[in-house]
Amino acid sequence: MRTHTLIASVLLCFLAICTRPTPVSADSAGELVSGIAQKSFSKKAAAVEKLASSGNENAALILNALMQGNLYRVKTDSTRVVLVLSEEGSLKISDPVTGAEFPSLTKSDLKKIRINNKVRSAIKAGLGRLDLTHIDPDRRLSAAAAVFKSGDPTMLPVLEELLSKEQDEHVKSAFKIAVASLQLINGQDKKIRLKAVETLQDAGGQEVKGLLSKAALQLATEKSEGSAEIAKAVEKALASVDRQLATYGMVENLFQGLSLGSVLLLAAIGLAITFGVMGVINMAHGEMVMIGAYTTYVIQETCRLYMPGVLDYSLIVAIPLAFLVSGLFGILLERSVIRFLYGRPLETLLATWGISLILQQFVRTIFGPTNKEVSTPSWLSGAWEITSGLSVTYNRLAIIVFALLVLFFLMLVLKKTLFGLQMRAVTQNRMMARSMGVRSASVDALTFGLGSGVAGMAGVALSQIDNVSPNLGQAYIIDSFMVVVFGGVGNLWGTLVGAGSLGIVNKFLEPYSGAVLAKILVLVAIILFIQKRPRGLFALKGRSVEG
């Protein structure tokens, strides 16, 4: 018994710390509490109920104390209730509402407030109700979830009552599910139980599935009225929930795949342009992505230093700047190295690899080898909950949209501008384009700049989902090559289809084989695919092919 009180007092101390007494509502709370001191048990229970629904912050503390037998009534003043805690051997007697101590009182002045089972269940219901009626809807939601999980049948009347009063749609549906779960498991009435199954089926989700399986097991041994019928309904509901979960899984995979695909698209699209137009494999492409990501980081830090107010929008500023910085690097690279290597694609590959090593080391020298953090702006954090159990994060969604925008923008440049026209001309037949007066050298430089600039923008996007480190580019370069090889060069649609399908296939394989094996399988599949279509899905036709 002594150990029990000890534990109880420790718990209460903890509770006391958690819930600070507020003197504001002390008066009314005092009245409520004094009701507990009444002799009749049924009156006590009523007082408990009243206290629990009062919304008083100390209610939980008081109810717990009553449950543990730590509430006493002063013999001389039958309305005064005190809280008695044993602290390091000595008794601490205080007012449960205000926390004020009564040093003059001793234990002989007090009489313990007794409770019976009726009061106990009232306290339990009251404690559950406290959270369920909390002002914060999130608290109410989690309380409903707790009821759902515990399956405590005493909560059923409470919930049913609250359900009719609840205003918040989210909380209401959570209450409904919790009620249905209690009704199904503990109810007797066939109609109500069938209705509950229906409600649960509509709700769906992983937890409902667990509950339904539990109900199915219980019904198998139950011999109440219509249990067979209910069991059938449960089975049906279970199947439907399973189907729904599978669909959610599919949708989630699809989204994950699209997300990966959009990242690949961003990384590969610039590569496809440079490869398509110049037949040049730019191994330093990944480093252009990295430079874009570091540009984002630098802009974020600059904003933090000089304009903390617009820090949330530094990402938007970073997009054009990353394009410019990476694009300039690209033009510099083309003018200083690559233009001397036209017609020797294998040598270009080696030289650009060397440049990628230099750029990596350069960044490592300036920024250090550790990861830099680019924070997610507030307008991109969080997730969009489509239904319960199915949500997509905003930053992933933003990257998909961004990738499509970049693709659209590039299409526009290619199809609607003079530069795009010249670029396509050079892609299709360099010699003919030159004899028509297209300055192929400047087209090359600008194309390279464009491809690298797009890589820089990819870096802005990647900074949101990956670590910004000198190795950032290396992680994506082989995958981007695969996209280009798979999709075929010189055609942005090919890149789109290639990136999308690689991303989706990867994510759909992952649950069955694990992430690494999925990647290996995709690589092997591409290696085999190349056999069938050596020039990719959307191959260029005509003379340029043999070039």
Binding site: I281, V337, R344, P345, G354, I358, Q361, I526, L528, P534
Partner: protein, 390 residues
């Protein structure tokens, strides 16, 4: 290159091969043999306090370079003579290394940390109950030696058969070989592959009964590597000097034309690709006992590209240039990663750019050109001076 001489019928192929070694070949073989001889003498007979003494760690280091040289040779054979740029040759090297590593692993027996006579340490650690089927046979050196050549050869055959048959060429081939080695890298990182996962195979004790830590074994392995390099070199010379090699060069320079002339390009490419992969595998097999470890990082695409740069710096299509490049760059790497660790990647990167822009023919191809240019200029000047006097 001198034309294929017809005295091969008189002296037998080997003698004629030695007699017909292409430019610098004889000097290369001579220097290699002399250096080897000196290293052995310098290690064994010259006392340790002498300036001319070669310490044992140096022997192992040089042995490592020799393995790299053989690897570079294998890349030069396909890139220099057939125009196939493989960015995945590290994979064949690593596979050969793994085959040898598996044999060395089995030789540990019950001397591992866990003292399990049947399973290597990492399998005990991962709670494996029995040896996977693909580990059977690696107790035998002969079998392991066979696998050293067979596994890379077979992979090259299958890969090459698919790739060449559908005429995947140029950068496309380079990219998919890179994907191949990348896929293998990911695969070997997995613990459930049964190759030691991330840590690879290590803790070797002995080879053919000789203690791997003994000086004698190290020198023996070094000599073995040198012999492998010499044999590999002669095989490459033989191939490139033969009619077969002529066709390879034709394919390198004009693949379509060679095809139209009636050669089955795929067959030539596939054959030379497989031979090259086997050579790379052998290089890996000599490499592993000398460095004492093989792990998945050998499969990393960056490693494979580095091999290509050894060849490019030394001079592609010259064979011994590849050897020179491999030794030079790896020596530089060992030196600079110790002395100036931050500068090494700049230098390596710069080397890639420099060698492709300025030295397209590598050291071996370019230095004679420059020498000739200088000679011609001097001759011009002197003749101008002569005319000036007149």
């Amino acid at each position: 290159m001198p034309a294929l001489s017809n005295n091969s019928t008189e002296k037998g192929p080997f003698v004629s091969l030695l007699a017909d070694l292409p430019g610098g070949g004889k000097a290369f073989m001579g220097i290699l043999l002399a250096a080897t001889l000196y290293i052995i003498i310098g290690n064994v007979w010259i006392p340790a306090d002498s300036f001319f003494h070669v310490p044992t760690y140096m022997v192992s280091l040089l042995g490592k370079y020799v393995c790299y040289a053989l690897l570079a040779l294998s890349v030069d054979l396909i890139w220099g003579y057939c125009g196939i740029l493989s960015l995945g040759h590290g994979a064949f090297f690593a596979l050969g290394g793994y085959a040898m590593g598996m044999y060395l692993m089995r030789q540990i027996g019950d001397r591992g940390v866990y003292g399990n006579p049947d399973l290597p340490d990492f399998m005990v650690f991962l709670n494996w109950q029995e040896l996977p089927w693909y580990w059977f046979g690696f107790d035998s050196f002969i079998f392991a030696a066979l696998m050293v050549m067979l596994v890379p050869g077979l992979l090259a055959f299958v890969f090459g058969w698919f790739a060449f048959r559908s005429r995947v060429t140029g950068v496309y081939f380079s990219i998919i070989t890179q994907a191949m080695t990348y896929a293998l890298l990911l695969a070997f990182f997995r613990n459930d592959m049964g190759f030691g996962g991330n840590n690879g195979l290590t803790d070797f004790k002995d080879i053919l009964g000789f203690d791997l830590r003994a000086d004698g074994t190290k020198i023996g392995l070094f000599c073995g590597s040198v012999i492998a390099l010499l044999v590999g070199y002669l095989v490459c010379v033989y191939i490139t000097q033969s009619k077969f090699g002529r066709v390879l060069i034709a394919i390198r320079d004009a693949e379509s034309r060679a095809r139209f002339t009636g050669y089955r390009v795929e067959f030539y490419k596939l054959t030379v690709f497989v031979i090259s992969a086997v050579l790379a595998g052998i290089a890996g097999a000599f490499y592993v006992p000398q460095v004492g470890i093989i792990n998945p990082s050998e499969f990393s695409p960056a490693n494979s590209i580095e091999i290509v740069i050894w060849v490019a710096v030394g001079g592609r299509g010259t064979l011994w240039g590849a050897v020179l490049g491999a030794v030079l760059i790896n020596w530089g790497k060992s030196y600079f990663t110790g002395a100036l660790p931050d500068a090494w990647l700049y230098m390596l990167g710069g080397l890639f750019v420099f060698s492709t822009l300025v030295l397209p023919k590598g050291i071996v191809g370019t230095v004679p050109l420059w020498a000739e240019k200088i000679k011609r200029r001097i001759a011009l000047k002197s003749s101008a001076a002569d005319t000036g006097v007149k």
